[in-house]
Structures are given as structure tokens and as C-alpha cells.
């Protein structure tokens, strides 16, 4: 048998109140091991309070070649942003 341990992506919450952030990846044979490895590899300097691991092959990704139709239409929707709306200067904090 010559097979590699699968690749996992590691997400760490640095402290409560923050979201889990992608920290990196690693290899592990199973989910338990992936968690344990993530703990030792990515939180050995006290960087986390919670870890998610997900096998990389389970992640669905958008493709860069679709970027024009995927992301560009959002670029000119200026009305989604507060600065689109004109208000008199007297109105503060809105």
C-alpha cells in the first residue's frame, strides 16, 4: 500500500469574539488526528481557543476563470454602499 494521508485545512479561532480563520493545512489519517495535529502544529504558541478541520477535498471552490461573471457584476452596485446617498451635512452620524 502506498497512499498518502489526506490533506486537511485548519481553521482556528484565536479568541472568543473572533471568527475562525484559515491557518494552513496538514496531513492526517483521520479527523481526530487532524485535530490533534492542528493543535500541535498551529496552536503551540497559544494561538487558539477553537479548531475546525476539514478534509481539503471536501471544499468546493469558485474558479478564477469564472471570476468575471462571478465577481465583477458586484463592482458597480454603488447603491449598496452608504456613500451613494446624499444627505445634508447637518445630519450627523448616519
Amino acid at each position: 500500500m502506498k497512499k498518502e494521508w489526506p490533506l486537511w485545512e485548519v481553521f482556528v479561532r484565536s479568541k472568543n469574539g473572533l471568527e475562525h480563520r484559515h491557518f494552513g493545512s496538514l496531513h492526517a489519517a483521520d479527523a481526530e488526528m487532524a485535530l490533534a495535529n492542528a493543535r500541535d502544529v498551529y496552536t503551540r504558541r497559544n494561538e487558539g481557543v477553537s479548531i475546525w478541520v476539514v478534509e481539503s477535498s471536501n471544499i468546493t471552490a469558485s474558479q478564477p476563470e469564472n471570476n468575471p461573471e462571478f465577481f465583477e457584476p458586484a463592482k458597480d452596485k454603488v447603491y449598496r454602499h452608504p456613500t451613494f446617498y446624499d444627505l445634508p451635512d447637518e445630519v450627523k452620524h448616519m
Binding site: K3, E4, G24, W52
Partner: protein
């Protein structure tokens, strides 16, 4: 794709890098960019992993519990750095097993410095001070390199590495403030590690083949000779503080240049070590290959167990 279309894509690609945009793994990239990055990142990863061996030599013999713990933690970081870098490399479509195969078969290179032996405890100090010092100079500019995963790995590496050089220098300082015997040990380590450390920056600019392309892709920001000079200028005063002598009779401050002048590097030795003729090339490779082979049944068992127990014990995030 026609040749013209590729040329066009390449032009856009180079422009993006020139604009300081980052390249991410799934973006289109010239095949040469991919190959160059696989080569450089994996070479870097291999260096971290092989670099564990000369220091690992001294874990069991460290002179105090405090030193033992610091050394273990440092070597553990190096394993971590190897891991970050292999992961970055894997985003380019090559597996870690393939990368290991390249290392074990001798196809891939790693930093030659790790083919020198660690003979005394002072060598652990010298490695931290000089080798990590040189590595930091090489690595800091890479935090800003064009390939996103490599840049991110390097940010993490550089952040963690900052204690390594201090650890080494502190060892040297303690030796130099110690007994004459200890100071002699420190001097001897500097004598043996100085020149190999200078070689870590690679051949002179005149001899270096990759520099121009690497500059464009931000794999390099300064030339080998510039980095080497920076290292010397920064390290010589540190040796003065230690009160030990850099083993180069030609070393002297050049007021006009604002840099130290230094003697000729033995490039024949450099190339011999690169080609496998260094004092420990064979031992290092043997140790890596043997660890890998002896570990095979363990890795296989873990996979077999995982397959049998798939879906058992999984705690969902939500």
C-alpha cells in the same frame, strides 16, 4: 491555447506581479513560474526538515534542562516550518510524498549548511546565531513574495524564527562569559561555521543563474552578494560583543564603501558539498530515508484504521 494567447496571458500575469498583486494557486500561471516555485519552496521545506538533524544530535546531550527544552522547541518549530512550506508547495499540484521522493532520490536539493557536522555544544549556539541569522536575512524579503501561499508561510516562519537566533546568540554569550575552555569552544564553533554560513547566500552574482527571473517574481529582492554583505556587516559587531574572532584575516571595515571587506570564499568546497561531497551529506540522507522507510507501516496502519472507522467519532462544528 495558441502561442499568441499564452504570450498574452503571460504579459497580463507579469503585469499583475509588477503591480504587487498576489498570485493564488488556482490562478493561471506560466509553467515556468509553477516549476520554479515548486523547486524553491520544496528546497526550502527540505532544508527545514534536514536541518532538524544536526541540531537533533544534541537534544539528548544538551547541558541543562532549560537548554534542552529550548532546543527541542526550536527543532519542533523547524518541523512546523517544513510543514507550512510543504503545504504551500502542495497548492501547486504536487503531493508531499512526491516531494519526499525527490529529496530521498537526491533529485531535490536542500541547504548545504546542514551537511556540516555539529561536534560540540557550541555548534548549537553557532547554528542559531549564524545559520538562523543568515536564514532570516534570506527569508524576510520572502514574506512579500508574489505567490500567496509561499508569502503567508514565510510570514509565519519569520514570526516564529525570531526566537531561534536569540537562543543561539545567548548560548554563545554564556560560553564566552564562561571558562576559558568554554570560550575556546565558542571560538572553535565560529571558526568552523563562519565560511559555510557565508556560502548560504549562494554563488556570487556573476555565477548565479536564476537571479533576474527571481527578482521579477519577487522570489528575491536583493542579490546573493548584497545579502551576504548585509549578513557580514550585521554579524561582525555581534562577534565583537562576544569577544571572539571571525576567522578571516582579510576582514576589515572599509570606510569608503561603508561595509566590511572580506576574504575569498572557497567556492570549490561549496560546489563539492552541493554535489554531495560534504562531511555529512550521506548521513543526513540516510537518516531521512531511514525515518521514512521505518515509518511506512505506521502511516499505512493509520490510514487503514481511518478507513475502517470512517464517520465514527466525528464531532461536527455545527
Amino acid at each position: 491555447m495558441s502561442e499568441k494567447e499564452i504570450k498574452n496571458l503571460e504579459a497580463i500575469f507579469e503585469q499583475r506581479i509588477a503591480n504587487e498583486e498576489k498570485i493564488e494557486p488556482k490562478d493561471w500561471m506560466p509553467e515556468k513560474y509553477r516549476q520554479t516555485h515548486i523547486r524553491q519552496i520544496s528546497q526550502h521545506a527540505h532544508s527545514e526538515v534536514v536541518g532538524m538533524l544536526p541540531e537533533g544530535n544534541w537534544v539528548t546531550r544538551a547541558p541543562s534542562l532549560r537548554r534542552k527544552a529550548a532546543l527541542l522547541a526550536k527543532i519542533q518549530d523547524e518541523a512546523g516550518h517544513g510543514l507550512y512550506l510543504y503545504s504551500a508547495c502542495e497548492t501547486l499540484g504536487i503531493s508531499r510524498d512526491e516531494l519526499y521522493d525527490q529529496l530521498h532520490s537526491g533529485k531535490a536539493k536542500y541547504s548545504s549548511i546542514f551537511n556540516y557536522p555539529t561536534l560540540t555544544w557550541a555548534d548549537i549556539g553557532a547554528i542559531g546565531w549564524l545559520v538562523d541569522g543568515a536564514a532570516i536575512i534570506n527569508q524576510v524579503p520572502l514574506c512579500n513574495t508574489s505567490f500567496g501561499p509561499y508569502a503567508r508561510a514565510m510570514v509565519r516562519v519569520c514570526k516564529e524564527e525570531s526566537f531561534h537566533q536569540r537562543q543561539g546568540y545567548e548560548i554563545m554569550l554564556t560560553l564566552c562569559k564562561g571558562t576559558p575552555e568554554q570560550k575556546a569552544m565558542a571560538q572553535d564553533a565560529l571558526n568552523r561555521w563562519w565560511w559555510p554560513s557565508l556560502m548560504m547566500f549562494g554563488p556570487t552574482d556573476a555565477e548565479s543563474v536564476h537571479t533576474e527571473q527571481s527578482m521579477k517574481w519577487k522570489l528575491k529582492r536583493k542579490t546573493n552578494d548584497e545579502l551576504r554583505q548585509q549578513f557580514i556587516d550585521q554579524t561582525v559587531p555581534q562577534a565583537d560583543i562576544l569577544g571572539i574572532t571571525v576567522p578571516d584575516p582579510d576582514l576589515k571595515w572599509n570606510e569608503e564603501r561603508g561595509h566590511y571587506d572580506f576574504g575569498e570564499i572557497n567556492w570549490d568546497e561549496f560546489w563539492q558539498v552541493v554535489k554531495g561531497q560534504g562531511p555529512c551529506n550521506r548521513e543526513r540522507m540516510k537518516a531521512r530515508v531511514s525515518a521514512w522507510e521505518r515509518g511506512e507501516w505506521v502511516r499505512d496502519a493509520a490510514l487503514a484504521y481511518a478507513e475502517k472507522n470512517a464517520k465514527k467519532n466525528i464531532k461536527k462544528a455545527m
